[in-house]
Symmetry: C2
Subunit: 412 residues, 2 copies
C-alpha cells in the first residue's frame, strides 16, 4: 500500500477566493450560551453534482483556515501552509497556496473532477469566521475573552448549519487531520445519517495527557504575557506576541519528530565553526529556525483563537461525551465508513489512538480501514506525506459500502 | 542486575549545613573573560580518609544545589528535591531533604561509611555559588545579564580550584545525572590523571537537536517576559516569573514520559465529572499539576541562572570541544573507569547517547560499563530509581581496575 511515488500534484484547482456566509440563526453552544450572528468563511473546489451527492467537507487543524487548495486570489503574502508545523520548511509551498493543495484537486486524493470539496474556517477562527476577534454585537467591540468557550461539537454544528444554508443535506465524506480529524469523527457521531464516510488522519478520539500538557503550556504562555490583558488586547496596540511565539515553538517541536530535527538541523551552529558565547542570540540552527517560526506565526494568527481552539481540542473526548467513558458505546450509532491514517513517528497523535478507534469500530462490526504509514516527520506527516496518502484515500472513497469492510494493510 | 527491591534509604547522613568557600584566584573562562571573586557553596558527607583518597564529587543538574543529602539545618521550607522534575511528586521527599538523599548516605550507592562525598552548587548557580544574581564587584550591583557566558568546562575548572583549596588532589569518582553527568565526563577529559572513575547517569556527550529546542524555548519564555528587563530585573520588584514558569513547565514535561503522565493523571478532570467551559482555569488534573510545579519553581529559582545553565548544557559537546567533531578522538586521553546508566523511557537524554559513549570508549579499549534500566518515569528516573541504581553503582565503585572491563548487562 505504501508506494514511494512523487506527490500527485498534477494539477491545481486554480485561483480561488474565500467567500463568506452569515448564518440566520444563533447557535446554541455546549457551554449553555447562545452565539450569533455567526459568519462562516469558506472556499469550494470542483462542481456540485445535480444530485448534490458528491460533497466532501474538509476540516482544518488548529492554525488553518478556509483556504485549503489552489492559489489565493489575493495572497496574504504568506502561505497559509505555514500555519501547520513545518509543512513549508522545504520551500515547497508557493505563496498563497492552500494548506492541503497537494491533496485537493483534479486527480488528487480529494479529486475535484469528481467531488465538490468545501473547506470552512472553524467557528472560533481568526481567518474570516466568527471568533474572539470578531465584533460582539452586544458591545460593538471584539469579543476577546468574552467569546464563549466552544467545543468540537459546536464547530461541527456550525458546519451543519452552514451546509444547510448552502442547501447541502448529505456529505459523501468529511475529512481532516489532527483537530480536523476530530471534527470528522464528531460529524459521524452527531449526524450519522448525513455522512457516508469519514477520513480521519493523524488524529484521536481523545488527546493523551502529554498532549493536554503541551496545549496547557502553550495557552499559559499566551495568558502569562502581560500584553494579553485578560484577553482584551484588541485595539490597545499590544498583543501577546511573545507568549504566543513561545506557545507556537512548543507546538512546532511537538509536530515534528526528534529524528526529523536531527536530520534537518543536527547540532549545526548558526554562524561560523564555533560558539559565540551568547545567551540572547541563537547559536544553533534549530534555535534560529524556531524563532523564525514563532515570528512568522504571530504575524498571521490571533492569540485568542489559539486559546479557544486549543481548549476545544483538549475537551474532545468521544468516550466521555457520548459513551459514559466508553469509546465503543460512543460509536454505537455511527454508520459512516471510516478510514483512519496514522504515522509511525507521530508522537503527538500516536498511532495507538487510531488503533483504539479501529478496535472500537471493529467490535461494533462497523466498516473501518486503518493504515499506518511509516514516515519520519512526526505529526506534520499529514501535510507532507501526500504521495502515500493519496492512493489510500482515493481507493477508500471509490469503494462501495460492502467492499469496505476488509481490513486495511497494517505494517506489523 | 535489575532487582525490584525497596529503596536503600536505610540511614541518613543526618542534619547538614551548606558551607561557603571563596576562591583566591579569578577564573579564566572559555568565553575569554575572567571572573572573580568566585564563591562556592558546598556540603560534605562522610569523613575524609587520612590518605585523602576516598573523595567522590557529586554534581547536580540544572535546577539543583549543594544540598544533595541529609536534612538541611535551616530548611528553606521547600525540599530541594522539588528542583528536579517530578522527583517529589509522590510526597516521598521530606522538607529540606537533599535532592539525592536516597543515593548518598551510610550503606547507600555513594556510601558515606566509605567515601567522603562532596557536593557543590555550580558556577552560575543561585544557591550560594557565584552566579548572575551575585554582586558584580565592578559595579556593586548584581551581574544580571552582564555575567559572563559559562560552559560545563568552566564549572568543572571551578570545582577543580575549589578542591585544590580544600587540599584534595584526586577524586575516587565524579558522579552526576543529566547536566551532572556532563560534568563528570568533562572532568574525565579535562583532568584524566585526577579522576579514578566517573558515574554518568541519564546524560549525554552532546544534547540532541530536540533537546536544544526545548532548552531554547524555555530560555525564550524567560527572555520574552517583559519583566526580564534585559536580564537586569534584580531590585526592580519584578522578575520574569511568568516566563520562567512556562519554561519550567516545558522542562517538566520533558523530564517525564508520556506513559508516566498517563499513569499519574490520565484525562481526569480537576473538578466534578464534567468540564466547566473555561479557558483560564485548569480543567484537567495534569494542567493544575503543571501550574503548581511552575509556581513552586519560580519561588526558589533565579531566572538568569536558568538561562546560563541551560546555555551551558546546550554548548556541551565533547566531540566538538576536544575531538574536532569525533567523540572517539575526544575521549582518547581519558583514563577513568566509566559507568553509564540510562533509562529506557528517558526521551530527553535517550539511552542511545550513552551507547555512543560506550561504543567510543570500547573502541579505545577503555574500561566502561553501560546499564540500561527499564523504567517508566522518563528522565526523572535518575532521581527516582534509587533501588535499581544502588547495586550497580556500589558494585562499580568496589571494582578494581582490572575487573571493570567486563561488559555490563544490557537488556536487549
Amino acid at each position: 500500500m505504501i508506494t514511494p511515488v512523487a506527490p500527485a500534484r498534477t494539477a491545481s484547482v486554480g485561483t480561488v477566493e474565500t467567500r463568506y456566509l452569515d448564518l440566520a440563526e444563533p447557535a446554541q453552544l455546549d457551554c449553555g450560551r447562545k452565539l450569533g450572528p455567526i459568519r462562516v468563511a469558506y472556499e469550494t473546489y470542483g462542481a456540485l453534482s445535480p444530485e448534490r451527492d458528491n460533497v466532501i467537507l474538509v476540516c482544518h487543524a488548529l492554525s488553518g483556515d478556509a483556504h485549503a487548495a489552489g492559489l489565493a486570489k489575493e495572497p496574504s503574502g504568506e502561505s497559509t501552509r505555514d500555519g501547520f508545523g513545518a509543512a513549508d520548511r522545504d520551500g515547497t509551498a508557493g505563496r498563497g497556496l492552500g494548506w492541503w493543495d497537494g491533496m485537493i484537486g483534479p486527480g488528487k486524493a480529494f479529486d475535484t473532477d469528481r467531488y465538490f470539496v468545501i473547506a470552512t474556517n472553524l467557528l472560533g477562527g481568526c481567518r474570516g469566521s466568527t471568533g474572539p476577534s470578531s465584533i460582539d454585537p452586544a458591545t460593538g467591540r471584539p469579543y476577546g475573552a468574552d467569546f464563549p468557550v466552544i467545543t468540537v461539537a459546536d464547530m461541527v454544528r456550525t458546519q451543519r448549519a452552514f451546509l444547510d444554508a448552502l442547501g447541502i443535506e448529505r456529505l459523501a465524506a468529511v475529512a481532516g487531520g489532527s483537530l480536523g480529524g476530530m471534527q470528522a469523527l464528531e460529524w459521524a457521531v452527531l449526524f450519522p445519517e448525513q455522512v457516508d464516510a469519514v477520513v480521519v488522519i493523524a488524529s484521536t478520539h481523545a488527546l493523551h495527557p502529554q498532549g493536554l500538557a503541551w496545549n496547557a503550556i502553550a495557552r499559559d504562555a499566551i495568558m502569562r504575557d502581560p500584553a494579553w490583558q485578560g484577553g482584551h488586547y484588541y485595539g490597545t496596540g499590544r498583543a501577546p506576541d511573545g507568549g504566543m511565539g513561545v506557545g507556537r515553538m512548543v507546538g512546532h517541536v511537538t509536530y515534528l519528530s526528534a529524528p526529523a530535527l536531527d536530520d534537518k538541523f543536527g547540532r549545526r551552529l548558526q554562524f561560523a565553526d564555533d560558539v559565540r558565547y551568547t545567551i540572547t542570540e541563537p547559536e544553533f540552527e534549530v534555535e534560529n529556525y524556531l524563532r523564525h517560526q514563532a515570528d512568522s506565526f504571530v504575524r498571521r494568527f490571533d492569540a485568542n483563537t489559539y486559546l479557544y481552539l486549543s481548549r476545544a481540542l483538549t475537551y474532545f473526548d468521544l468516550g466521555r461525551q457520548y459513551g459514559g467513558g466508553s469509546l465503543v458505546r460512543a460509536l454505537e450509532g455511527m454508520s459512516a465508513r471510516t478510514l483512519l491514517i496514522a504515522f509511525s513517528s507521530d508522537w503527538l497523535y500516536p498511532p495507538s489512538a487510531s488503533e483504539e478507534i479501529e478496535d472500537a469500530l471493529r467490535t461494533l462490526g462497523k466498516p473501518v480501514e486503518f493504515h499506518l504509514i511509516e514516515a519520519p516527520y512526526g505529526h506534520d506527516c499529514f501535510l507532507l506525506e501526500e504521495a502515500r496518502q493519496t492512493p489510500i484515500i482515493r481507493q477508500f472513497l471509490a469503494h462501495d459500502r460492502a467492499g469496505s469492510r476488509r481490513r486495511g494493510k497494517r505494517p506489523s
